[in-house]
């Protein structure tokens, strides 16, 4: 009887607990919240008197924005794939959008809720990764390239991707910390197609990246900002828009569009399947497509605008910045990433792991021998002391 009561009691407690956990959801009905999952350092947040995009959106619509960041497309993909968290708006890059579409992870957009989509420039409609624009609307576009410090880097060495393999600057070079961008650099350097699925070519890229490894100070994403700004590193490969922000902090920094070609990317707004509030998410997308918001946002970000009329709301200097808006001849060298087959992605991931973990294998034997020696010595010591103790005990008893 007693036991029955206890079980009943704990069952009731558990029920209360579950109900208690469930209630906040219903209480928060009046306040709509959307989870926005974006790249780090990728929205104007009110710094230096620029627009605070999320606060502005909250003021205008009353929808609360819960803003979360990721550091690479791959990190974002993993987070979406492992589930457990729901996002309403995500901002991945072109090739990742194609992958998400292929794996049926996005919801089609309702254009009735996004009237500002009409401002999207024709060049950024119907791109290869989403031919019908069913799932995505461009947020920004830009290029990758080499950022270098004019104080330390000889201008004669600049111009090609080989700067990243130049032994003169050993230990002062920063490299991308994600496989797609890193292999992209190697592919340009070796003259391969940016979207190659040839395993031998990928292998050659991996060899090249392994060769580069001893020269690399670190594999970074957004940590590049601080390392390049305070001159801990002199050369880095990153996105043009981020370079413009870095240059405000350190005027000695310069940017180079390598002559072999470079990645031209588009980051777009999408709604993942885990979306809880599609109308609010579309309102957010619509807000970001408004020329004045886009212009003021990108005025701070330094990335390039795919929205018609946005440049009118920017600082004149920014709107004419040759890094953000390069000329036709430069742009002609840009290539876009396409989604790769799952097998190629997996191959690239494992090669990338090989690049990052390999290297000092010549020491393996020494480490192994030392560890083995330590363990053997410990065991011998243990056995000797035990024997001695046994002997002592025996002699004690014999006396």
């Amino acid at each position: 009887m007693n036991r029955f009561l206890r079980v009943l009691g704990s069952a009731l407690l558990l029920a209360c607990l579950i109900l208690g956990l469930a209630t906040p959801g219903s209480a928060a009905k009046e306040q709509v919240t959307i989870n926005v999952y974006n790249w780090g350092q990728y929205i104007s947040d009110g710094t230096d008197g620029y627009i605070d995009v999320n606060a502005e959106f909250e003021k205008e619509t009353g929808i609360k924005v819960n803003y979360i960041t990721f550091d690479s497309n791959e990190t974002m993909y993993t987070k979406l794939k492992t589930g457990g968290s729901s996002y309403d708006v995500i901002i991945p890059s072109d090739y990742m959008i194609a992958r998400l579409i292929e794996e049926d992870m996005l919801l089609p957009l309702n254009y009735d809720n996004i009237p500002n989509a009409e401002y999207v420039m024709p060049a950024y409609r119907g791109m290869a990764h989403d031919p019908q624009d069913t799932y995505s609307i461009p947020y920004t576009w830009g290029c990758t390239g080499i950022i270098y410090n004019t104080k330390y880097v000889d201008e004669a060495d600049v111009g090609s991707w080989d700067l990243l393999w130049n032994e003169k600057y050993s230990g002062k070079i920063l490299m991308f910390d994600n496989p797609r961008d890193a292999f992209g650099v190697a592919e340009f350097y070796l003259g391969y197609d940016l979207n190659t699925t040839n395993e031998q070519e990928l292998q050659a890229c991996a060899e090249l990246l392994k060769k580069q490894k001893p020269l690399v100070q670190d594999y970074f994403m957004d940590q590049m900002y601080s390392a390049l700004e305070h001159e801990e590193a002199w050369i880095g490969v990153y996105y043009a828009g981020d370079f413009i922000q870095m240059q405000w902090e350190n005027e000695a920094l310069a940017f180079c569009f390598p002559r072999e070609g470079f990645n031209l990317f588009v980051d777009s707004l999408c709604i993942p399947k885990s979306c809880q509030n599609k109308d609010a998410a579309e309102a957010y997308i619509n807000f970001l497509c408004r020329p004045d918001i886009c212009g003021q946002n990108l005025d701070y970000l330094g990335y390039s605008a795919p929205i018609e009329g946005a440049t009118e709301y920017m600082d004149e200097e920014m709107a004419a910045n040759p890094i953000a808006y390069p000329d036709e001849a430069t742009l002609a060298r840009g290539r876009a990433f396409l989604n790769l087959p799952a097998k190629t992605n997996q191959k690239m991931d494992s090669l990338w792991l090989e690049v990052k973990t390999g290297g000092s294998s010549n020491k393996t034997l020494i480490y192994g021998l030392i560890i083995a020696a330590v363990i053997v010595i410990l065991l011998v010591v243990l056995m000797v002391t035990r024997k001695n103790k046994l002997k002592k005990r025996r002699s004690m008893y014999q006396k």
């Binding site: 690399v216 801990e232 991931d349 973990t357 480490y367 330590v374 103790k389």
Partner: protein, 270 residues
């Protein structure tokens, strides 16, 4: 009956947060990342990571030993101090642990980097920038710095409990101070040494943050590889296999170290 019920909440906790996750790790380690079918591929590929496993074990063994050498005199000194001084010293040892582990490691980065505080001071007196970080030494430094309190605490507790009469008896029987230490204090503090080494070794061998921040591109540890598999590469299966191997490795190490206790304690009580 009542006693069994008392341990109920913990058993439930352990079932939910230890046993079930372990089963999940096992499941992932033996399945394919794309098809989800049973495979031994992940386990078979572990051989490739042997150098990294060895490097992790080596660096964390080394830092455990350094922690022991540095920590033992500290623990001994604290245990010899007056009781209210003891509390103060103990607080000093614990104090760094009140600050986030990540922050403390980042602070080392700004101290050691090429344009860091130490190198800036050195350049004032004309010594060129030294390569203080991005090498294995810096990783060991980070491990020792972060895990030293875990060594001092168990050592201090054990040394403090050593009966002073045993030391006096040894002195009465003609031991000089070196002999007292070798024959009495050291054998009696073995349980503290073993738990201290375990408490330093286990977190050090699986760390990833310290090596990412202070290590160079060539000093990747096994924790880094596991983290990358779960965070960016989306290959939880390989990550699970690696964690499983690491767990087995740690269990073996702990088992070897535990052989040193037990027996010595019974000798000590004789």
């Amino acid at each position: 009956m009542k006693r069994q019920l008392l341990s109920g909440p913990y058993l439930l906790w352990m079932a939910i947060f230890t046993i079930i996750p372990l089963v999940i790790v096992l499941y992932y380690a033996f399945t394919d990342s794309i098809t989800g079918a049973f495979t031994l591929k992940n386990i078979a590929s572990l051989g490739t990571y042997l150098p990294i496993f060895l490097r992790s074990v080596w660096l964390s063994l080394l830092s455990s030993v350094i922690c022991l050498v540095v920590g033992y005199p500290v623990a001994w000194t604290i245990a010899q101090a007056k009781p209210n001084h003891q509390r103060f010293f103990y607080l000093l040892v614990m104090l760094p642990m009140c600050i986030s582990f990540l922050l403390r490691t980042l602070a080392w980065v700004s101290l050691l980097e090429d344009t860091g505080i130490i190198n800036q001071l050195l350049s004032r007196i004309g010594i060129g920038p030294l390569k203080l970080m991005r090498n294995s030494g810096a990783v060991i430094l980070g491990m020792v710095y972060n895990y030293l309190p875990y060594m001092i605490m168990p050592l201090y507790t054990v040394i403090m409990k050593i009966d002073p009469r045993l030391v006096e008896a040894a002195q009465d029987l003609g031991c000089d101070s070196a002999q007292v230490f070798r024959k009495v204090t050291l054998p009696l503090s073995v349980p503290g040494i073993v738990s201290g080494v375990t408490m330093v070794f286990v977190p050090a061998v699986s760390t990833f943050y310290i090596s990412q921040k202070l290590g160079g591109t060539g000093s990747t540890l096994i924790g880094d590889v596991i983290e990358s598999q779960f965070k960016a590469a989306y290959n939880p299966n390989l990550g699970a296999a690696l964690s499983l191997a690491l767990m087995v490795l740690v269990l073996i190490c702990v088992a070897v170290m535990n052989r040193f206790t037990g027996d010595d304690e019974s000798v000590a009580t004789l």
